[in-house]
Amino acid sequence: MISALVNPLRFMAFSRWAAPALGALAAALIVVGIALGAAAPPDYQQGETVRIMFVHVPAAWTAMFAYAALGSASFVFLVFRVALADAAARAAAPLGAGFTLMALITGSLWGRPMWGAWWVWDARLTSVLVLFLLFVGYLALRAAIEEEQRAARAGAILALVGLVNLPVIKFSVDWWNTLHQGESIFRAGGPTIAAVYLWPLFVMGAGFLAAFGALWLVRIRAEVWRRRAAGLALQAAADA
């Protein structure tokens, strides 16, 4: 299916209905997720603040997914020279930065009542912060290079370097954190989480991913149109 979408015309035809469909799916999932999250009982330790998790964790998942999308689109662009893949990479980066920022801000809002601090140098917080900086670096590099083809290729190389580095960054930050402070303060949720919280979390996670997909498609469409407009403007200038 992916290889069929390499053709911009086919992609535009596909995304024309796929983007709104994904958007509707995202809206439905998020509404259900919010309802489930609101119905969940307050946590015996975290109280009402546990509900922040239903936004925070899906945002963090989506942010990581966005970097994976950015990296794989960049790979396809560099190796197979698919112009649409560059549009996809370019479209994914600001969305990824946004979801990363959302994860950081909601995490901070949760940390204030729970840890008594807006920010602590916890392993996850730190690695999400580095992820945000990677997105910012990518956006800055693309913005700084005027010529589009060059910006696209430099951005793709940087995204791949970041993709290779990301697991190492994650590992190093986790390792650093366990050396410096015990895990007792930051209880890992994971499997100890009750089903009543797990369901809204998964529904919201699916909703956020669908929302990312919808916004991504819309942004790729906009990028394709922008390029067409730029091409037409060039042609008009040449004709005049």
């Binding site: 580095v130 800055a140 190093s172």
Partner: protein, 221 residues
């Protein structure tokens, strides 16, 4: 003399000619170290707590200093075009440039790191590890930094942009080195951290030339 040897000699001469060799990075390193007590306060106990970390961070930042001169002058005067036509692949050219960067900036900074650490009031017994981590870490910083420099060269005058791109990427070596120094100073097992730092540096030496070569071709293309 082989092509690689000639290129290395040229790069070494250029680093000296363009920026005064190691003096610029060393001067920056010393300035950061001198400003730190002004910001933190002169109390020895307080300074000693951050001395190792501050010296290590300052070393990492000092390694970023010459990066904007790594590829850009060669692109401006056409030398990069000639190098691209020459017998060495561009990836190898990039690696030689980073090696020169390490020899001229990294090694002196590694030698200066223990002095800075002790001057800030850190424990003298951490000094050997400052040297070892400085030498290995600056190798990683030089090669990852070179990748950033090669990417930014397509954006004319990208100076500070290199730092924005490179700093998130050098998080792992900064952590490994910082932990190694801390563990060594406090008598804990330091070998794993130093081994990880070495592994990262070697991986950077092996892999980042590929990205540098692609980035240079892109800038020339």
């Amino acid at each position: 003399m082989s092509a690689a040897g000639t290129l290395l000699a040229r790069e070494l001469r250029l680093v000296f000619a363009r920026g005064g060799g190691p003096l610029l990075a060393l001067g920056f390193f010393a300035c950061v170290a001198a400003v730190l007590p002004l910001a933190v306060g002169p109390a020895p106990g307080k300074l000693a707590l951050v001395a190792q970390g501050a010296a290590w961070t300052a070393l990492a930042l000092s390694m970023l200093l010459g990066l904007d001169r790594l590829f850009e002058p060669d692109l401006d005067d056409g030398a990069l075009d000639l190098l691209a036509l020459g017998p060495l692949p561009l990836a190898f050219v990039g690696a030689i440039k980073c090696l020169a960067q390490w020899l001229v900036n990294g090694a002196p900074l590694a030698l200066a790191a223990p002095i800075v650490e002790v001057a800030l009031g850190g424990p003298p017994r951490a000094a050997p590890m400052m040297l070892a981590a400085g030498a290995l870490g600056s190798l990683a910083f030089a090669f990852v930094g070179g990748t950033g420099a090669a990417l930014v060269v397509a954006a004319r005058r990208g100076g500070l942009l290199i730092a924005v791109i490179v700093i998130p990427l050098i998080v792992p070596p900064v952590i490994f080195g910082g932990v190694a120094i801390d563990a060594y100073a406090s008598g804990q097992p330091w070998a794993p951290a130093l081994a990880l730092l070495g592994a990262y540096a070697l991986a950077a030496v092996a892999l980042s030339p590929l990205a540098m070569g692609a980035a240079c071709r892109n800038a020339l293309g």
